[in-house]
């Protein structure tokens, strides 16, 4: 499968990349790892006349950890996230989730920036970023701005990013408490039929903080605020876990596709949410 023709640019700094984006408007796209973009280009589902490779821009690569503040450059690959021991100590859920993305070869090139900026509801990182309450840094011709991950996604492949903006980094505070990212997929390399992430703290058997998010169960990643409200301050028992799971499933809005009908997806959602809750509690 051969994509339609394009011109190729490899700027060595972000200003040059943004200036190319403003010159070409929606005829231009940036390419990071390319593992979402190249497949759709091959299927000619998108018409790109100008392709801007971000791999020459060193300022948007790498992981910086200062105290509890974590900042990850958009061009950091999944395998770099997995192999970074300091990141694993501060936010082990990143490794747990990253290892469930695609396969080893894809993780070698796939980046966190591409994963979150593409706006594909099937991608795992956007859900994870809901969970961590992350902030995205966007750079464009009007300067740099911060957008909360929880306000970034508008619909499938639609985000608040402007045409001339490039996502340059992602930052969040190191989470504390138990964590789990549970993903049900048909095979390695497939997107989630349903996936759920949980981070929570339990003190004296009471839930003192919680975050819950879902992947591929709506046209955007879902932050389960209603379920979080239910569990906060409550004693953890089976009854409360069932209520929380139901509240999460209620907030999901999956569509039927080759992975199954809506009823099945909601059923699987219930299972992965319950598993994630249970494992997160075990790890507190």
């Amino acid at each position: 499968m051969i994509p339609s023709a394009f011109t190729f640019y490899k700027p060595d700094n972000i200003e040059k990349a943004i200036s190319l984006m403003s010159d070409f408007g929606d005829e231009a796209r940036v390419i990071a790892g390319g593992h979402s973009l190249i497949p759709v280009m091959k299927q000619r589902l998108t018409d790109i006349k100008h392709l801007i490779d971000l791999s020459g821009i060193n300022e948007i690569k790498g992981i910086e950890i200062t105290g509890n503040q974590i900042s990850i450059g958009a061009m950091t690959t999944q395998v770099e996230l997995i192999n970074n021991e300091e990141l694993f100590k501060k936010a082990p859920i990143i490794r747990e989730a990253s290892l469930q993305i695609a396969d080893p070869q894809v993780r070698n090139l796939g980046t966190i920036g591409g994963n979150v900026a593409n706006g594909d509801p099937a991608n795992d990182m956007p859900g994870l970023m809901q969970l961590l309450d992350a902030t995205y840094k966007l750079s464009g011709s009007n300067g740099v701005r911060d957008v909360k991950a929880r306000e970034f996604y508008e619909g499938a492949y639609f985000t608040v990013r402007e045409d001339d903006e490039i996502l340059i980094s992602i930052s969040f505070d190191a989470p504390s408490g138990g964590y789990a990212y549970e993903k049900q997929k048909r095979k390695i390399g497939d997107y989630a039929t349903a996936a759920a992430g949980v981070i929570l703290k339990v003190e004296n058997n009471m839930c003192s903080s919680a975050s819950i998010a879902l992947t591929n169960l709506s046209d955007t990643p879902v932050y389960c605020n209603k379920a979080v409200d239910i569990i906060l301050g409550k004693e953890i028992d089976n009854n409360i876990l069932t209520q929380v799971t139901e509240a999460c499933v209620d907030q999901s809005d999956p569509v039927a596709d080759q992975r199954g009908p809506v009823e099945f997806k909601k059923y699987v959602a219930g299972i992965v949410i319950k598993k994630a809750l249970t494992r997160a509690i075990e790890r507190t």
Binding site: P3, S4, A5, F8, G34, K42, P104, V106
Partner: protein, 167 residues
């Protein structure tokens, strides 16, 4: 569309190709440089038959544009052994019948080549996870996993012999 020059080192030799930017790395290797070891299976980054080594990492060469490989060090199955002197992994695939039709084999071998450097002493489960981006529709993977485990032993033994010889 105008062609551009891309320079990369393939199997130790510097090569400059004149390609359209949309040329996929696997086509550049196969059609411009005649390294037909990397196979085209699904052409959608699922099957892994096109797996090669790029800058010390396994990648699927059907999902990389040739200009993205500018300046890269590329290794294909042609670069790790020859018919007279097989690489330990190739020898063990032969010995343990780690293939049937052979279509996935160059990808399997190139993935194993990198995987065994990342993890020289893997468990069977780690081997299976390590090659999870490579599909084989013939073998059921049993003999592929056996071959890789045997290759890991052989490579470690060879390294030990070398160490003793130096000592």
């Amino acid at each position: 569309m105008e062609k551009i020059n891309v320079t990369m080192t393939v199997n130790g030799k510097e090569e400059t190709l004149s390609v359209e930017p949309r040329t996929l790395l696997v086509h550049a290797l196969r059609e411009h440089l005649d390294y037909t070891g990397a196979h085209i299976g699904c052409s959608s980054s699922h099957c892994g038959a096109c797996t090669i080594d790029m800058n010390g990492k396994s990648v699927k060469s059907c999902t990389v544009f040739a200009p993205q490989a500018e300046g890269a060090e590329i290794l294909t199955v042609e670069g790790i052994g020859s018919p007279d002197k097989l690489h330990a992994i190739q020898e063990m695939f032969k010995e343990h019948h780690g293939l049937q039709c052979g279509y996935c084999t160059p990808g399997m071998i190139m993935r194993s080549y990198r995987f065994l450097q990342e993890n020289p002493n893997p468990t069977e489960e780690e081997v299976r996870f390590g090659i999870s981006g490579n599909l084989c529709r013939c073998t059921g993977y049993q003999n592929i996993v056996k071959s890789i485990m045997a290759a890991a032993d052989k490579i470690r033994d060879e390294a030990n012999v070398e160490k003793k010889e130096i000592a």
